[in-house]
């Protein structure tokens, strides 16, 4: 075991507040950063409860930290602490259990990251750092470092990346961190509408411009006046509209459909696509001059499989957020389920991860989320990726199969949670012979909840 001096030397090398806690969440050691933040010396607070020293908003019983100790997996959460300067400091707390008890019984390492810089960039204290962009991985850190630069300019920005990587989230975060944040942020999907409709949608029209144009209509560019317009799936923009967009980028003015009067706009343009625009240019499907004008600043959102270590962070984040949203007590992920999730390739990236966690939180009845609460694609991938893990999974799932017949009724190809829930309710009612009390008990709900959901889905 390393000496106390060596351990402290290591702790002091970390550029964040850091503490080692014992199994009762009492301070074993703190580094210099945390000493400066709290105003206490490490020697002074040895053996004192972490909540007394750190004075976080979580209070004494923080389920995340307890969860980290019980599950053996790192947990993180955002909150604040009251520093010695009597100011609330926004913090990200990450608790990592130590595999072997360290110095003087230390079982948990707690890292406190000051989020003030991120929040001041975002200008919106309550919205969080860079408005929902999370990531410790090298690739995400590079984007977060570039974030203030992207926010403080009016230059066109092109965000590329696979579907579900967070292009929209980044665009919106940049808008909210920019001087344009008091004006609207308008998002238009260029692939969602046919050419004629898209032109009217983007640039507006005047009365009588075409059949059915009964009144003047402002386009999205006018609605975004002073703010930001985010053109997503820009690679799907038809060629004739590419010319018009080029004009807007050059002159900051355009003619609405059927109008003879030019409209001037002051709008920042951010575009996003999952396609390779350079390839489209070569194929003659995208104008080269437009590509050059849009590609002034460029950000490539990394796929989740290339974001080392971010899966756990995002799981904790979504677990807490979704549990709060649906008024459930935040559960935690079992080691096996976490292992399956960490080995999954997430072809749908962060969006898919969010949906998986939402599914798991809804399917589990509170407490621990196990492999049986994960959707079939994750389990299937787990089986094919790690043959050695498959028997263990089978053993894990076998006892669950009998007492949870309702789970077998879940449609594998269900498209939404409401659909799954509807089918679950029907299956429970059928199994209970129409007795709502029994059905509610089988579903793990109260009678009132079942009654409310029956009404909500029109099943009564």
């Amino acid at each position: 075991m390393a000496s106390r001096g060596k351990v402290l030397e290591l702790l002091n090398a970390v550029p964040h507040g850091m503490a080692l806690l014992d199994s009762d969440l009492r301070i074993v050691a703190i580094n210099r950063f945390l000493e400066a933040l709290t105003g206490y010396s490490g020697e002074e607070v040895r053996g004192v409860g972490w909540d007394q020293v750190v004075r976080s908003g979580f209070g004494r019983s923080n389920p995340l930290f307890q969860g980290a100790l019980e599950s053996g997996s790192p947990c993180s959460a955002e909150g604040d602490m009251l520093g010695q300067s009597r100011c609330k400091i926004p913090m990200r707390f990450t608790a990592t259990p130590l595999t072997e008890p360290g110095m003087e019984g230390a079982t948990l390492a707690l890292v406190l990251e000051d989020m003030t810089a991120f929040r001041s960039v975002a200008h919106t204290k309550e919205l969080g750092p860079a408005r929902g962009i999370l990531g410790h991985s090298q690739k995400m850190q590079e984007i977060l470092e570039l974030f203030p630069v992207l926010a403080h300019t009016d230059s066109s920005l092109l965000i590329t990346g696979e579907t579900g990587t967070g292009k929209d989230v980044l665009a919106e975060a940049i808008h909210h961190a920019s001087r344009r944040s008091i004006c609207p942020f308008i998002k238009v999907n260029c692939g969602a509408l046919p050419e004629s409709l898209l032109e009217s949608e983007l640039f507006g029209h005047v009365r009588g411009a075409f059949t059915g144009a009964h009144a003047d209509k402002h386009g999205m560019f006018q609605l975004a006046q002073g703010g930001t317009i985010f053109l997503t799936e820009i690679g799907d923009l038809p060629l004739p509209l590419q010319v018009k967009l080029l004009t807007v980028l050059d002159d900051r003015e355009f003619f609405p459909l059927g109008s003879q009067k030019k409209v001037k706009v002051d709008v920042r343009i951010i575009t996003g696509t999952h396609r390779d625009l350079a390839v489209l240019v070569r194929e003659g499907k995208f104008r080269e001059d437009l590509f050059f004008r849009l590609n002034v600043l460029r950000v490539q959102m990394p796929p989740l499989r290339e974001r080392d270590g971010d899966v756990r962070l995002l799981i904790d984040h979504f677990l807490l957020r979704i549990s709060t949203e649906i008024h459930k007590k935040p559960g935690r992920i079992s080691a096996r389920a976490m292992d399956l999730l960490c080995r999954y390739s997430f072809p749908g990236n962060v969006r898919e991860l969010r949906n998986i966690i939402e599914y798991a939180v809804n399917v589990s009845r509170g407490g621990i989320i196990g492999p049986e609460h994960l959707p079939p694609p994750v389990l299937d991938a787990g089986k094919s990726n790690a043959p050695s893990a498959a028997p263990a999974l089978k053993r894990d799932r076998a006892p669950e199969a009998e007492p949870a017949p309702l789970r077998q009724e879940l449609p594998v190809n269900a498209t939404s949670w409401s659909e799954i829930e509807k089918k679950k309710i029907l299956a429970a009612l059928l199994a209970a012979g129409g007795n709502r009390g029994l059905a509610a008990r089988a579903l793990g709900w109260g009678r009132t909840t079942l009654w409310r959901k029956i009404k909500e889905y029109g099943l009564g």
Binding site: Y40, V45, V48, D51, R55, G57, R60, L82, S85, C87
Partner: protein, 116 residues
């Protein structure tokens, strides 16, 4: 004179804004007068707690962390605040009576008066 201590069980609550219980002690020439009173608050709120301090005519507040705004407000109302104190509430009151409690003190149960 009255002393108010923010409570979390028997200890001083780490944060003034999150305290839901307070101890009010009346102090005279000979020390503590009467039985100390514990007041349960309807919920955590710095503003409500400041109102209670004023209403109860408290002269000294002992607490854990407190935000600058409320610290200044109480100071402006001529109420002394000893903040960032860690330890048992009862011991903090004893040290105040002995004139030995300071801001940022860590009161340890095993050392009588240590750290203050």
């Amino acid at each position: 004179m009255k002393i108010l201590v923010t409570l979390q069980n028997d200890d001083i609550a780490p944060r003034f804004d999150l305290a839901t219980e307070v101890l009010i002690v009346r102090v005279g020439q000979g020390g503590v007068e009467g039985e100390p009173r514990t007041v349960l608050l309807p919920g955590p709120s710095s503003d409500e707690l400041c109102s209670l301090v004023i209403k109860e005519d408290v002269s000294l507040v002992i607490c854990g962390g407190i935000e600058e705004t409320h610290y200044q407000y109480l100071g402006w109302k001529k109420i002394q605040v000893i903040d960032r104190v860690i330890g048992a509430a009862e011991k903090a009151v004893r040290l105040v009576l002995a004139g030995r409690l300071r801001s940022g003190a860590v009161l340890r149960p095993e050392k009588e008066g240590g750290g203050a």
